[in-house]
């Protein structure tokens, strides 16, 4: 009797499991198309232009597509009123279900970003398929052009190419890896304003291959794009915000007008101190830099006590002047605290109400800066000059 009961219950469970799994609506890998990059741009009639870069299965034939940019991806564009509507349109003609689980980057055009992109970012962060760690990139050219020309260097897979921001940030410091979650959090944070990766046609390379690059940062305030940082300014930003990892910085030589000295900077620590005087923030930045000299000459030795001191002093004034200019640019031109000075300023307030009433992000534009740089040089030479 008992075993009969168990059998009935087991059958019931199996039936329910079958029903839950909704077996008719299960998608196999052949029914799915995986988006590796999503682009948003201004469309015709003031609506949205959605561009998706879709990974092709190994069995798929890329030659059939008129819009494919490389053998492993297909790029498709539609005009729509919302992201979900656009995805649905593309679903209808590719005959597969688009899946955003492997989307590596969200590319947004500069024109659209100037109008404000909060609604799109909120939609994407709420999508369970989209990874919070996919990158946010602002393209100075059309997103369609950017995605079609984002052909990877030394890589066969576009998806892998999009993961390279992290490596670029570690090696050059010319850009920063900004994820969807970072962007969304910074937008809601009362301490700081968001930045995004800046993308454009290749400007550094002389190959004229029409490829794209990720260099610098796009700056946002109140959810709108307010300006951009070039790759040098991005370096100062990373240094001040304590996110700097590594770079090679070339400064004019203090010994000769025609010479340059390359420094490998591998460690920067910035101490921030903020005083609020008559509602105006006075921001003190104490930047400690550790560098190695990479340049060498045949007839001089930089590694003498006097020369080291002279290079250090020159590096200090060079960095101080550039960082100060950069900081005034963020406050006076952008009015955007992208270096999270607010996280120090908030210590001076007891309650959220006091902090909200002060309106840090509104007052940041009236900030004064006092920058102090202390560079410590070390040798990286194998053979010292004369």
């Amino acid at each position: 009797m008992k075993s009969k009961k168990i059998l009935i219950i087991m059958l019931l469970i199996i039936l329910i499991l079958f029903y839950i799994s909704n077996i008719r609506s299960i998608y196999t890998i052949d029914d799915m198309a995986y988006v590796i990059a999503l682009g948003l741009d201004n469309g015709d009639n003031n609506n949205l232009e959605l561009t998706l870069q879709i990974a092709l299965h190994s069995s798929s034939d890329s030659k059939g597509s008129s819009s494919s940019q490389s053998s492993s991806t297909l790029t498709s564009t539609v005009d729509c009123n919302s992201i979900s509507e656009g995805i649905n349109y593309i679903n209808s003609y590719i005959g597969k279900k688009l899946n955003l689980s492997y989307c590596k980057v969200i590319v947004i055009s500069e024109k659209l970003a100037e109008k404000g992109i909060n609604d799109y970012i909120s939609t994407l962060i709420n999508d369970i398929e989209v990874r919070p760690y996919c990158d946010v990139l602002i393209s100075k050219c059309d997103t369609k052009y950017f995605l079609q020309n984002s052909e990877p260097y030394l890589e066969k897979l576009s998806a892998k190419y999009y993961e390279n921001e992290e490596i670029s940030e570690k090696i050059t410091g010319f850009t920063q890896e900004i994820s969807l979650l970072d962007f969304y959090n910074d937008y809601y944070d009362t301490f700081k304003d968001p930045v995004a990766i800046l993308g454009d046609q290749n400007s550094l390379s002389k190959d004229n291959d029409g490829k794209t690059e990720k260099l610098g940062l796009a700056v946002f305030h109140n959810g709108n794009l307010v300006g951009e940082l070039d790759y040098n300014e991005t370096l100062w930003h990373l240094m001040v915000s304590n996110k700097f990892k590594n770079t090679v910085l070339t400064i004019p030589s203090p010994f000769s007008d025609s010479e340059y000295i390359s420094l490998q900077i591998s460690s920067v620590k910035t101490k921030k101190k903020i005083n609020i005087i008559n509602n105006t923030p006075l921001i003190n930045c104490d930047v400690s830099v550790s560098a190695r000299i990479l340049s060498a000459t045949m007839n001089s030795n930089y590694m003498t006590k006097e020369n080291i001191s002279e290079i250090e002093d020159f590096a200090n004034s060079y960095l101080k002047s550039n960082i100060t200019d950069y900081l005034y640019k963020t406050s006076l031109v952008f009015g955007a605290d992208i270096d999270s000075f607010g996280s120090e300023a908030v210590k001076k307030f007891a309650t959220q109400e006091d902090w909200d009433n002060y309106n840090w992000l509104g007052n940041y534009s009236s900030s004064f800066f006092n920058v102090d740089v202390n560079t410590k040089l070390r040798s990286s030479y194998l053979i010292l000059g004369i």
Binding site: I20, D189, Q352
Partner: protein, 368 residues
């Protein structure tokens, strides 16, 4: 659980699982919305208050030996009060279990089963809980004792792996939404420890009644630590929570965990573990509703009672029309229901019983 008495650890984990279930769903979100950046101060504050409250409750229980709240109600106000207490307790347990299971299944549908029928999801949970209750009540305790350490570990994992993304400055301003909301209005957040309702019932199931204080205080510490970790990770990861709201609070933190490029998202592993958590939670509630009803109304056919309990939970969970209603029921109605039952009604009965018992003891001493 009548067949086998609960040992120290089993009793702790039985209470902890109930509290953790609510923490996974809503509590951190509600506390952050109320207190803002001072949420962690509020949690420490309410933990101290609840610990003191519990020590007081233990004192009130002391003259009654191993009697639970139902027996004490009978002692205080006869069978009528016992029936009244039973109805209040059963309503409380049935109400919260139906809201919780509805809420969790809706979230499960979003994360795991977008195409599944909600009715069948809820049905699968309730059916499993019925089967567990049908075959063995001791198995609930054993499974629970095995699973709770794993669930506690998940929160530590979430906290440790998400710390890379966290910003400590999001704990500031230190007083959040102000002293009033942190300490005065914040007192109401003791409803987060509504799981202590089981302390009023569990005493008769304990192997050693002297363990009651230790069991209660340890459960409070475990639950408070879990709540503190989840609030800390949410607060330092998501600044928008201070002014907004979300569903399935702790799940949000798990989405930020990335173990290199090979394991970019592991959120579904946590969801999988929590499915067992909710199954156990539901099984425990059904067991206690059955136990209360059997004790009070002398039900002979326990199977029918079990099916009836499950049916009520199933139907009640389907009555909720949308997630907004679920949110209101779980964060507003439940809040005041828990405060009323756990922190006002039950202590009131205990206080009256304690006074009555002391009077009787004094009278007996005088007579001797």
């Amino acid at each position: 659980m009548n067949e086998e008495k609960l040992n120290y650890l089993e009793a702790i984990f039985l209470i902890v699982i109930v509290m953790i279930t609510h923490i996974i769903l809503e509590f951190p979100n509600v506390i952050i919305k109320d207190c803002g950046t001072s949420s962690f101060i509020n949690i420490i504050f309410i933990t101290i208050l609840v610990s003191l409250f519990f020590i007081f409750i233990c004192k009130l229980f002391s003259p009654f030996g191993g009697n639970n709240i139902l027996a004490i109600s009978e002692y205080v106000g006869g069978k009528k009060l016992k029936k009244c207490t039973s109805i209040i307790y059963c309503s409380y347990l049935l109400f919260i279990s139906s809201v919780v299971i509805r809420n969790f299944c809706e979230n499960l549908k979003i994360v795991y089963f977008p195409n599944a029928n909600l009715l069948m999801l809820i049905g699968a949970f309730i059916l499993t809980a019925v089967i567990v209750n049908k075959f063995s009540s001791g198995s609930i305790v054993k499974a629970n004792t095995l699973l709770v350490p794993l669930i506690l570990l998940t929160m530590i994992v979430v906290f440790v792996f998400s710390i890379k993304q966290a910003s400590i400055s999001r704990f500031l301003p230190i007083l959040g939404n102000g002293l009033n909301k942190t300490f005065l209005k914040g007192i109401l957040n003791i409803y987060s420890f509504g799981g202590l309702i089981y302390m009023y019932l569990i005493i008769s199931d304990l192997k050693n009644i002297q363990d009651l204080k230790k069991v209660g205080l340890t459960s409070i510490i475990f639950s408070a630590s879990y709540l503190l970790l989840s609030v800390s990770s949410l607060l330092t990861l998501f600044p928008f929570l201070v002014k907004g709201s979300n569903v399935l609070s702790v799940y949000l933190s798990t989405r930020t965990i990335r173990l290199g490029k090979f394991l970019p998202r592991i959120d579904t592993i946590f969801m999988f573990i929590w499915i067992f958590n909710f199954l156990l939670y539901l099984s425990i509630i059904i067991y206690y509703v059955k136990k209360i009803a059997t004790e009070t109304f002398s039900v002979k056919n326990k199977s029918s009672l079990l099916y009836f309990t499950a049916f009520i939970i199933f139907v009640a969970s389907l009555l909720v029309q949308n997630s907004l209603q679920t949110y209101f029921l779980e964060n507003t109605v439940y809040k005041y229901f828990a405060l009323l039952v756990v922190f006002i009604y039950s202590p009131a009965i205990l206080i009256i019983g304690y006074v009555k018992k002391n009077k009787e003891l004094k009278k007996a001493k005088v007579e001797i």
